[in-house]
Symmetry: C2
Subunit: 334 residues, 2 copies
């Protein structure tokens, strides 16, 4: 059973995968995406994954067989397990609990070589609907406190399989960064009685200098204190704390903005490795006046990542104004 362990100083929770049993020699070779002789995410390989928990099948075919356009399956090597009690306990001065939670894979397309940026607008929209569907389902599990949806694109950003996919990890704790972001937004709201993200959208749209792309309901902006060159946030104009409670028009526009931004990044930076993460309110929160869901896309470009991520202290060689100006000028197709 994996364990969740809490750092006693800064409150950071870590998943310790006690069963994977990785030995030192497993780390001594450079790990690359596995050779592409067999891909468990391709159409026709359905039997090699755990049974699907969600799939879009235009022809209403049989589960776990071909014919799907998008498929969600539990991770075959999950960092967390869904069965059991949390068993919160201490160990001297340390705190821990069992690694209960969900770890799922959203297979975004049956085609092995199409990236998320290559998908049609409708297909990208479906990916967002799948995110929503899984979050709404997992929220019913009262042991779980938070759902994190993220994507690793490219080996340098941590992708271990080439076939385009995102991941969902649902946790029985609220991770430190999520708690901090919520607390920071609340602090701003108490001081100004406004949502900080609403203020950011207002200021950025007015100045325009860090805007990457605008749609009717959603904007893409290079954040003022970007950690990484070409970091881009996708933020709805209308205030809302939970992604999964959005109306259809918001998913449509978010898909348009995400696809456009990924295509611009791909053209500007020659298909860069990147991570994105959906930032949305933890499970069980009511509609919050101080929090505002959004996506953060962070290209993995600088090679000083080790120290910077670890210390929380970033040096960014590209001003976000210049990154945004560059990305605005990149023309992408429809």
């Amino acid at each position: 059973m994996p364990e969740l362990r809490k750092d006693p100083i800064n409150g950071r929770w870590v998943i310790i995968a006690t069963e994977r049993g990785v030995r030192p020699k497993d780390f001594t070779v450079e790990r690359k995406p596995s050779s592409e002789t067999f891909c468990p995410f391709c159409a026709g390989s359905e039997e090699t994954t755990p049974p699907e928990v969600l799939a879009f099948r235009p022809d209403h075919g049989t589960p776990n067989s071909p014919g799907w356009t998008l498929r969600v399956v539990p991770n075959k090597f999950p960092a967390l397990k869904i069965e059991g009690d949390l068993d919160r306990r201490g160990h001297g001065l340390y705190d821990m609990m069992k690694g209960i939670g969900a770890h799922e894979v959203i297979i975004e397309t049956p085609d092995h070589d199409r990236t998320l940026a290559d998908l049609s607008l409708r297909e990208v929209e479906d990916v967002l609907w799948a995110f929503r569907g899984r979050l709404l389902d997992l929220k019913n599990d009262t042991r779980l406190r938070c759902g994190m949806i993220f994507k690793n694109h490219g080996a340098a950003a941590g992708a271990s399989l080439h076939h385009s996919h995102s991941q969902l990890i649902a946790l029985p704790v609220v991770p430190k960064t999520v708690a901090e972001e919520m607390a920071g937004a609340l602090r701003y709201h108490r001081f100004r009685d406004r949502c900080v993200y609403c203020d950011i959208v207002e200021q950025e749209v007015r100045s325009g200098e860090r805007i990457v792309f605008e749609a009717e309901h959603v904007v893409a902006v290079a954040p003022f204190a970007s950690r990484s060159p070409f970091e881009t946030w996708i933020v709805p104009r209308q205030h809302a704390s939970s992604f999964e409670d959005s109306p259809a028009a918001i998913y449509r526009d978010t898909a348009l903005v995400m696809r456009t931004v990924l295509q611009k990044l791909g053209l500007a930076l020659d298909d860069p490795p990147y991570n994105f993460m959906l930032h949305t309110a933890p499970f069980g929160e009511p509609a919050l006046a101080h929090y505002h869901w959004h996506f953060e896309i962070v290209p993995a470009l600088t090679n000083v990542a080790g120290f910077e991520w670890g210390s929380g202290f970033y040096i960014n060689p590209t001003p976000p104004e210049r990154a945004a100006e560059y990305l605005r000028a990149v023309e992408v197709g429809a």
Copy 2:
């Protein structure tokens, strides 16, 4: 002039290097440590670096000429500049100031191919004395609030030059992670009236299961909530909040433990890339009852780093008990 910008939500400060002017195409090629035809850190290349701010010269020779065993120089491409006023100001809802600060390089040896683990005990001790000397000097600058000393070893951990060196960045702000660690340690002290690091040392030495190596005054331990496989902390047994105020016996033992741990990691993991960072109290703090200086060594082994560092949420496939057991068994020379 570089800028320091603060994220308005979580308070993270970022250095934006507005003058480096890195263009998108600079990111499209994989960046490796530069070819080794010329090394500015080798003996004989003294004229190619900015003038030294500290050097150990057993023969008392001329500054900026060969004959040194260790040399500290300002970074030729600094992330921060030492001259000027901070000029703290707002920009709409954002906060920023000029990028004032120091960025120095500690060249640990004149020999191009010897790593820190290859140096003699006396040479490693000298590296620690250099850390101390530079911190004490920079503390005299009242604009500066915090000195961060770190090392990137190996290209995957962000080293851009092969020749063994560490870096010092002194900042006019306290980085978020440092502030959080101080706050977490203070919280524990208020609750228990003891130092959390002293308690960790006590519990770890008693159980022994996560101890990597013990010396008289200093221990190496795999932390309970390790973020990364084989993460190792080096902690003095005696309580002290500032590294730079330590007596000589502590530097001697810290050098012994650091050299032993790096040799063990090198043998166990075939010279892995790693980062280490000195965690010590910010400038201007008195001796603190709740904080305890230490080094954190984090091997850069897992390829999911992008998402994990970015989200602050870690999945570690190797339990620290097993890493410590493994490292204890690795025999190293004297």
